[in-house]
Amino acid sequence: MRWRPGPIVCILGIAAVLPLIELFLPQPAHVSEAVRGVFLYAILALGLNVVTGYAGLLNLGIAAFMAIGAYAFAILTCEIYPFQIGFWPGLLLTLPVGALAGFLLGAPTLRLRGDYLAIVTLGFGEIVQDVLKNLDVVTKGTQGINPVPAPSLGGTMWTAEDEYKWYYLLLALLIVVILAIRNLERSRLGRAWFSIREDELASRSMGIRVERIKMLAFSAAAAIAAFAGGLSTSVLSSTGEPSNYDFQVSILALCIVIVGGIGSIVGVLVGALVMIGLNSIVLVKATAVLETMGIGGQSNVLLSPNNWKYLIFGLALVLAVRLKPHGLVPPRIERRAT
């Protein structure tokens, strides 16, 4: 078959040249920094997509795994702890740590039906929050752990100012994650995930070891989320506080997956762009414009644009699923290669 650039390649290609375009635009129009957030959330949502989109298990606690990754990464690398294993080993270690956490939660609970599992994951999210806050001897509680080292490769360092370096690093890692997920998706494992999502009992009757397959989805998602957590920690050079990884983050990731197109990598990318873009590009810039035009900043609730953000975000969600119930880019099912 002749090779044609697919939608994923197109999106990533546009992303790759975006900073170059920006060179010709005035500063207020720069968005590449916010796009870094899109990349991070895209990685997180790709992880969630594995468990919720492919295997059909509703996970409301993906942020907990992100938190585990973030804190594991920070504890292993930060200079106030004795380990200090460095950026790359730390980032790689978030994968097994996340997978282990996923395994520990999944092993006893993956037999639960649909929404029972959802509440377990939600509860796990709350537990992780509490644990991170309360074990302050280990995790520094709400202080957060900082500074977390920035990556360096062959002598080049990434500092907070090198925004384009960061941009391309995140883009590269996003591509790695996409490739890994695509390899899994187009394999025996991916097929088994889909079959469980479609009809768990039938796939069980075909000899699929449902528990094991679900566990792989769950752990893989947890590992990717932990990876995203470690990465975001490094970008911000601090873990922030535990509530930076609360239920709302899980919900945002879920919205990205579903609004984008559940079970579709392109969908997740588009979803992340739309959701995070709405949040940290459109809303932020719009508020700024309104402020400079003298609108807003009033003490009355109704007149301050900030107070409309919830409403706009909520309306966007309702309208998105109303107009596109299968997501902005639903997965193409038929010709998926084996």
């Binding site: 509860g123 009992l201 909520g314």
Partner: protein, 318 residues
């Protein structure tokens, strides 16, 4: 206080809190039972109900009423909030959920999340707008005092154990509601229709049951329960805020699951269990671990009873 008095006191607190959770959870579980939607907006509808009650209270100047009139005031608030929340929940179904009935469950879930955000924002506006006390909306986000209409003296007089009229009020409102609800679902034609739709919407439609109407009515009833609960909550806690829907919704969801989703007695049992576990954990462990303990117990129970405490192990039709 003696040790046993502390224990009894915590039990009373736990049961009172648990009853409120149970009331919210009933609305949750009804909606879940009929269309299998985790209604994220339920907690926020509940929150708006509390704001309506506060508005009524302020507009009618109930604080200044003589005490027996205030009881009538409470009744007015209960009915108004119930009606309001019912209608709101019904409209959410009409506008945001019904068009998605054929779409996947997850799209529905996102729609519910969106509604939850919208309601939260309305609560923020509401918290600021109509009442002078909030400085023209400057402090809209701050928690709001809900005046004490129910006195807080100790019914037991000088005893170390305190039972305040608010505890009694919780019982007086919630228990009849639960009985009425069980009657409605088990004994009336409407209840039968609801159960039929919950079991198999297509079959129910073929039997001539107006499915959409039944679902709408279920949303109304679920919302109304949330409305009742919101007034009870406000009277009991005397504070409301635009973000209180989150915890209320989460507790209700947990209670519904713990009891077995779709089971009315299960929701009540789940709510009471959570209330008591919270109180006991606050007393005998540490407050900061309470959430962990609640969810830890939930996970443990689900491992051993995968369908909740009273949930039926519904067999899949093969």
């Amino acid at each position: 206080m003696q040790d046993y008095e502390v224990f009894l006191q915590q039990l009373i607190t736990g049961l009172s809190n648990g009853m409120i959770i149970a009331l919210v959870a009933l609305g949750y579980t009804m909606v879940y039972g009929i269309i299998e939607l985790i209604n994220f907006a339920h907690g926020d509808v509940f929150m708006l109900g509390a704001f309506l009650a506060l508005t009524l209270l302020g507009a009618l100047g109930m604080e200044a009423w003589p005490s027996h009139w205030q009881l009538a005031g409470v009744a007015i608030m209960l009915l108004a909030s119930a009606g309001f929340c019912g209608c709101l929940n019904w409209s959410l179904d009409r506008v945001a959920y019904r068009p998605l009935r054929r779409a996947s469950k997850l799209s529905l879930l996102v729609s519910a999340i969106g509604c939850s955000f919208i309601c939260t924002n309305l609560g923020l506006f509401w918290g600021g707008m109509p009442m002078e006390v909030f400085a023209g909306g400057v402090a809209a986000a701050a928690p709001k005092d809900f005046p004490q209409l129910i006195p807080q003296f100790n019914i037991l007089g000088e005893s170390a154990i305190r039972i305040v009229p608010a505890d009694v009020a919780v019982l007086v409102v919630t228990v009849p509601l639960m009985i009425a609800l069980v009657y409605l679902v088990k004994r009336t034609r409407l209840g039968r229709a609801m159960r039929a739709v919950a079991q198999d919407a297509t079959a129910a439609a073929l039997m001539g049951i107006p499915v959409d109407r039944v679902i709408g009515i279920t949303f109304f009833i679920g919302g109304a329960l949330g409305g009742f609960a919101s007034v009870v909550y406000a009277l009991y806690n005397n504070t409301i805020g635009f973000q209180m829907g989150y915890r209320a919704g989460m507790d209700a969801f947990t209670a519904a699951v713990l009891g077995g989703i779709g089971s009315l007695p299960g929701a009540v049992l789940g709510g009471l269990t959570i209330g008591c576990v919270r109180a006991m954990s606050d007393q005998y462990v540490e407050t900061r671990w309470t959430n962990t303990i609640v969810f830890g117990i939930l996970i443990l129970i689900l491992i051993f009873r995968p369908s909740g405490l009273l949930g039926s192990t519904r067999r899949e039709k093969v």
